[in-house]
């Protein structure tokens, strides 16, 4: 019995030892000819004048009409098809086409998107301003206009436009199109939507694609305050309160990694606190923190990207920082 047990115990061990395990890890084999061939191809390509990117719309099966229709459907908007085509027609394309037609001796009128773009820009500007004033009711006008300038900047709009997929649909003289043309096309699309679906649809379009760019961003960063402590004292002075900074914490005072915490007190109650590598900086950061609280733009603020319709402008109750 004992003998059998011993034998049984050893059986799996021996079979395991018999198994053949590969000692090397399998790797992808890249042949020795691949690298020199790719290099040679690169050299030949360079000799012919670099890599050529052919626009998608020069392909044989490109169907502009279908693309325009799909563009509207993707965004869940009903565009007027003529207006949408006009919105995608850049001025440079029209000039180029007219030149071509002149050479051939024919004359077909084309409309470019300048007018739509200017309409759209005006609308975006006004709507963003009103929207920001509504969702940030206590934020000063300077701050609001800083945020607005960021949102309607060419860079921001071009980013939105590019990722809506306008790059290949835009009719322009050059390819790839530059940022100005992308931003301009986006404004024109808003202009086209304004004419085809009305104010509210266009407003919601701008809200969903332009204002939503604020997601995850700090609105305070778009407005630089030169002296936040002075601004805070001025605001408090108007309300008849005096500000008292107190050092409430420090770590490693005699080291280069010193950290101070300054609390700002009004009537023996702490309104905010700030950190910094020196007391001066900590005081300034404390003031910034307090201003954020006053303006309602704290870090934990929830952005509101869901206002329905076009809000009504109301600028009477704001802090007039410039006047103080």
């Amino acid at each position: 019995m004992n003998k059998i047990c011993v034998i049984r115990r050893f059986i799996p061990l021996t079979t395991k030892a018999m198994k053949c395990y590969p000692t090397t890890v399998q790797t992808q084999k890249i042949h020795r000819w691949v690298a020199p061939t790719l290099m040679e191809l690169k050299v030949r390509e360079k000799k012919l004048g670099g890599k050529k990117y052919s626009p998608r719309n020069t392909y044989l099966e490109w169907n502009l009409e279908a693309e325009l229709y799909a563009f509207g459907k993707r965004l869940n908007e009903d565009f007027d098809s003529d207006l949408l085509l006009q919105a995608f027609t850049d001025r440079s394309y029209v000039i180029k086409e007219e030149q071509k037609q002149k050479d051939l001796g024919i004359d077909i009128k084309m409309k470019d998107n300048r007018e739509l773009a200017s309409n759209g820009e005006e609308f975006i500007k006004n709507y963003v301003q009103v929207y920001l004033e509504t969702i940030l009711p206590r934020f000063p006008l300077e701050g609001v206009s800083g945020v607005r300038e960021h949102l309607i900047s060419e860079e921001s709009l071009a980013h939105v436009s590019l990722h809506l997929g306008t790059k290949d649909i835009i009719l322009a003289a050059e390819y790839p199109v530059d940022r100005f043309i992308l931003a301009n096309a986006f404004k024109a699309i808003v202009g086209a939507l304004l004419q085809s679906s009305g104010d509210e649809r266009a407003a919601h379009f701008v809200r969903d694609f332009v204002i939503a760019q604020l997601q995850g961003k700090d609105v305070n960063e778009f407005w630089t305050i030169d002296d936040p402590y002075e601004m805070l004292t001025n605001i408090l002075k108007k309300e008849g309160a005096t500000l008292e900074p107190r050092l409430i914490g420090e770590a490693g005072k005699n080291t280069i990694l010193a950290c101070y915490r300054v609390g700002l007190y009004v009537e023996k109650k702490m309104i905010s606190s700030g950190y910094g590598e020196s007391i001066k900086i900590a005081k300034e950061m404390g003031a910034r923190e307090a201003l954020k609280k006053i303006f309602g733009t704290e870090d934990h603020m929830k952005p509101n990207f869901q206002l329905e319709g076009i809000p009504k402008p109301n600028t009477n109750i704001r802090y007039q920082i410039a006047a103080s």
Partner: protein, 178 residues
């Protein structure tokens, strides 16, 4: 990075200075606590790859207490690297030579042997007595709680106080104290 985010980072990674009184403390048990602060393991942001350790200042290292027979029995090994260069020093001998050595070695042993250990040890300051440099003391903003209560010795209580302490009974006049 905005100014607010920068100071937030600065405050998060600020080094706090802690003080630890070694008087009547077991160095091997204290080492675990000191290590925790040195490596920053008491912080929610702790990660082995982030440099968030604090500074610990140990005072009164001359007054440490070893367990049982440890002063006589525990030996510290050293080898010079030459043949016959091994030496075993008893704890009491080592403590007489350098009163900071036992606690230093205890903390060093409490940490894992990796490349970070020697840099972490640089943040540990040990002083044999209570007198520590003024600039070091100014940095200190926190005290680590001692593991054991330091009892008051009868011969350290003023004689006046001992005499006036209420007693349950008095020895008789002719009672001879051994």
């Amino acid at each position: 990075m905005s100014a607010c985010k920068r100071v937030q980072q600065w405050a998060t990674f600020a080094r706090t200075w802690h003080i630890f009184d070694c008087k009547w403390q077991d160095p091997y048990q204290s080492a675990g606590v000191i290590k925790k602060y040195l490596m920053g393991m008491h912080k929610p942001i702790y990660h082995p790859l982030n440099d968030c350790g604090d500074v610990v200042v140990c005072i009164n290292s001359r007054e440490i207490a070893l367990r049982g027979e440890d002063w006589r029995r525990r030996a510290y090994f050293h080898h010079t690297g030459y043949p016959g260069g091994a030496s075993w020093t008893l704890a009491w001998e080592l403590h007489n030579k350098d009163p900071t050595m036992i606690i230093r070695k205890a903390v060093y042993r409490a940490m894992q042997g990796n490349l970070q250990r020697r840099h972490t040890m640089e943040r540990l300051f040990i002083y044999p007595g209570e007198d520590i440099p003024e600039d070091v003391l100014q940095n200190v903003t926190n005290q680590i709680r001692q593991l054991r209560l330091v009892p008051t010795r009868l011969d350290h209580i003023p004689e006046e106080e001992v005499k006036n302490y209420p007693k349950v009974m008095d020895y008789p006049e002719d009672y001879i104290l051994k």
